[in-house]
Subunit: 378 residues, 2 copies
C-alpha cells in the first residue's frame, strides 16, 4: 500500500490522480490533499478520500479529525510515501524540495519546478536519494523507453502535437483568440498548459525538464511535430535503434505508471490504442518562425542560471494577459523576449536568487507589457 | 572479445554478420565459418577472416592450418562464445541443439528452428542456460521493447510490410510471378524468405517463433500491416502502454544488437532514421483471405506438435516450385494446405518425429503437387 499526498488535487492532474487512487483502493491510500482556489471540490475530495492531512489555500471548514498543515509539512510528513506534485507555476517548488529532503518519491507534473530550478532540484534529489518520477506524457515516454537500458543514448526526440494552430500562417496566428487556443485538438488540460501548448512554450519547458531529468545536453534533444499525440516521445540509442512509447492521449496512464512503478497495473478504465484504427502516425518538422516561444525557451534553457526562471515568470504574466484577451498570440512571445532581454542572469543561482529573478520578471513583464503597448487596456 | 561461429556465412544474414565483425575488430573475432553451395564466397571469407574452424557443404581447398569439422562440432566448440545460426530451412536445427547443449549464446536468424522445434529448442535452452538472441527484425524489436520490463505483457504486435502484393486483388494475386515476388519493397533478403514475405507465410512463422521465444500464447500475438517497415514490432503492456522499436529497415542493426547485447555499439555505417523524412507511419489490418499462407501458419502453430514442421517442409517445396515458375501464388497455399490435411499430427514430438514429419511432408507435397495438377510440368 503506497500512501499518497497530492499537491494540487483539484487541478486536472490532481483529479486524474484521484481517479487512479479510486481504481486501486488496495494499492494506493490518499493520506494528504492540498488544493488551491477550488475549495468546494477540495471539500468533496476530502469527504470521499478521508485524508488525515489537508492543506487549503483558502479557508475551508472540515471535520475535526483532519489536520491542516502547510504543503511543505505535508510533502515531508513521515507517513507519506509518494508526493504527487500537480501544482501550477512556482507554487510546488518549496514543497518539492521539502519532499526531496525527506527522501520521498516525487511524482512530478508541475513543469516549472525542473524548468526553473532543475540544477538545484536534481542535485538535492541525488544527495537525498529521492526519486523523481515524471508524470508528463513526454517524460514518462522517455522514462519508459530508457527502462532497462544503459546510458547509451544518442538523442531524445520529444513529440509535440503542435496545438490547435500548427498549420496557421503568421497572419492567421496574429489574430487567434484565447477561446480558440483553449480548444486543444488532442489533450484536455488546464488553461495555462493549454495556452503553452498552443504557443509551443510547453515543449521548450519540457526540453529543459528533460535536460535535467535525464542528464542529457540540449544538443541531444530534438523536437518533432506529431499531430495525433499517440507517440509520446522516442529515444534513439547509440546503435541507431529507436524506442517509442505509444498510447491513447490520456494522462491517467503516465500518472498510474509513476505511482505503480516499477509495476504496471492492468486498468480496464484506461483507453486502449488500436493502431489500425489510428491508421497513420504523422511527423513534421518544427516551424520555429511561427512559434517564437519555443525558441525563447530553448535559448533560456541553454543559457541556464536564472534565465529559465525569468522565462517561466514572464510566460505566466503573458499567458494571463492573453487569456484575459489583453494581448495577442505574438504578444506572449514579445513580452517574454523583452523581459528576458532586460534580465542580467546569475550562473549557478541559489534558490532565493531563482525566486528573486521570478518575482523581478513577473513585475517587469507586467510593467513593460503596459508601457510598450504589448497589452490592451481592460 | 567475443568469438563467433557463423553458420550460413555466405547467405544474406551471414554476409551482414561479417560486416558487423569487420566494423568491430576489437570486439568480435570470427573463429568459425560454415557455408553451403557458394564455395567461392566461402573461400574469400576464409581468406579475409582467417577462422580456425571451417565447414563447407561442398569440397573446398583451403590452407592447411584450417580445421574442417561438422556444423555440430563447430557450434559446440569450446572456443566459440556466440553461434550465429544464419542457415536456411532445417539445416540449422541439429547445430543449434548442439550449441544449446554446450550452453552457447545463439544468435538466431533461421526461422524454421523455432517454428519446427520450438518446444524442444526452448526447453533445452532453459535446461542448459543457453541464451537465444533473436536476429529477425520483428523479434529483435520485441526483445528490445521487453528489455527491463517485467512479465506484464498484454499483446505482442508483429508488423508486416505486406510484401510487394499487399494491395493486389485476388485475381491479380493469381497471376503474379516469382520475378515480381522477388522485388520486395523494403527489405533485401534471400529468395526463400522474400517469397515467404510475399505470401505472408514468413509472418506466420514469426508468430510461431515469438510464441516460443517469449512464452506467449497465440491469443496475445497480433499482426498488423505496416508497409514502411520502420516500426519493427510493438509490445502492449498490461497497463495499456505500448513500446515500439523503430529503425531504417536494415538487418545490420538487429544482427549487431544480438552480438553486442546487452551493450549497444555506435556504428556510423548503420543508416539513421529521420522521422520527419519518413513523414508518416501507416498501419492496416491483415487481409487473411488474400494471404492464406498466413492463416495456415497460425493454425499449424496453434495445433503444435508436428504440424509446424509439416508446414515448413511443404512451404519449402511449394516456394521452390513457385521460384521455378512451376506453380502459382495460390498454388503455394494449396500445396501447403493439402499436405497439412493429409498429416496425422503427433503431440509433444521428439526430434526424430519432427524430422520424420518434415521428410514425409516434403515428399508428400512434391507428390501431390504433381498428381493434383498444382504444379506445371518443366
Amino acid at each position: 500500500m503506497r500512501r499518497l499526498a497530492i499537491l494540487g488535487s483539484t487541478g486536472s492532474i490532481g483529479q486524474q490522480t484521484l481517479d487512479i487512487a479510486r481504481a486501486f483502493p488496495n494499492r494506493f491510500k490518499v493520506i494528504g490533499l492540498a488544493g488551491g482556489k477550488n475549495t468546494s471540490l477540495l471539500a468533496k475530495q476530502v469527504e470521499q478520500f478521508q485524508p488525515q492531512l489537508v492543506y487549503s489555500a483558502l479557508n475551508l471548514s472540515l471535520p475535526n479529525k483532519v489536520k491542516f498543515l502547510s504543503m511543505e509539512e505535508m510533502a515531508s510528513h513521515p507517513e507519506v510515501d509518494i508526493v504527487v506534485v500537480a501544482t501550477a507555476g512556482k507554487t510546488g517548488l518549496a514543497p518539492t524540495l521539502a519532499a526531496i529532503r525527506a527522501s520521498k518519491k516525487i511524482a512530478l507534473a508541475n513543469k516549472e519546478i525542473l524548468a526553473m530550478a532543475g540544477e538545484i532540484v536534481t542535485a538535492e534529489a541525488n544527495r537525498h536519494h529521492a526519486q523523481i518520477l515524471p508524470i508528463d506524457s513526454e517524460h514518462s515516454a522517455v522514462w519508459q523507453c530508457l527502462r532497462g537500458e544503459k546510458a547509451e543514448v544518442a538523442r531524445l526526440i520529444l513529440t509535440a502535437s503542435g496545438g490547435p494552430f500548427y498549420h496557421h500562417s503568421l497572419s492567421q496566428l496574429a489574430n487567434v483568440t484565447a477561446e480558440e487556443a483553449l480548444r486543444h485538438p488532442t489533450w484536455r488540460m488546464g488553461k495555462k498548459v493549454t495556452i503553452d501548448s498552443a504557443t509551443l512554450m510547453n515543449k521548450g519547458l519540457e526540453a529543459i525538464e528533460a535536460h535535467w531529468l535525464f542528464s542529457i545536453p540540449f544538443s541531444k534533444i530534438e523536437i518533432v511535430i506529431h499531430p495525433q499525440s499517440i507517440v509520446h516521445s522516442l529515444v534513439e540509442f547509440t546503435d541507431g535503434s529507436l524506442k517509442a512509447q505509444l498510447s491513447f492521449p490520456d494522462m491517467h496512464l503516465p500518472i498510474q505508471y509513476a505511482l505503480s512503478y516499477p509495476k504496471r497495473l492492468p486498468n480496464s478504465e484506461l483507453p486502449r490504442l488500436d493502431l489500425v484504427q489510428v491508421n497513420s502516425l504523422a511527423f513534421e518538422p518544427v516551424n520555429y518562425d511561427n512559434f517564437p516561444c519555443l525558441k525563447l525557451a530553448l535559448e533560456a534553457g541553454k543559457k541556464g542560471g536564472t534565465y529559465p526562471s525569468v522565462l517561466c515568470a514572464a510566460d505566466e504574466v503573458a499567458t494571463e494577459l492573453f487569456l484575459a484577451n489583453r494581448t495577442s498570440f505574438f504578444g506572449i512571445a514579445e513580452i517574454v523576449a523583452k523581459t528576458i532581454s532586460l534580465h542580467r542572469g546569475t550562473a549557478n543561482p541559489a534558490l532565493d536568487e531563482i525566486l528573486g529573478a521570478y518575482t523581478w520578471a513577473r513585475e517587469t513583464a507586467l510593467k513593460l507589457a503596459c508601457e510598450e503597448s504589448l497589452c490592451w487596456k481592460q
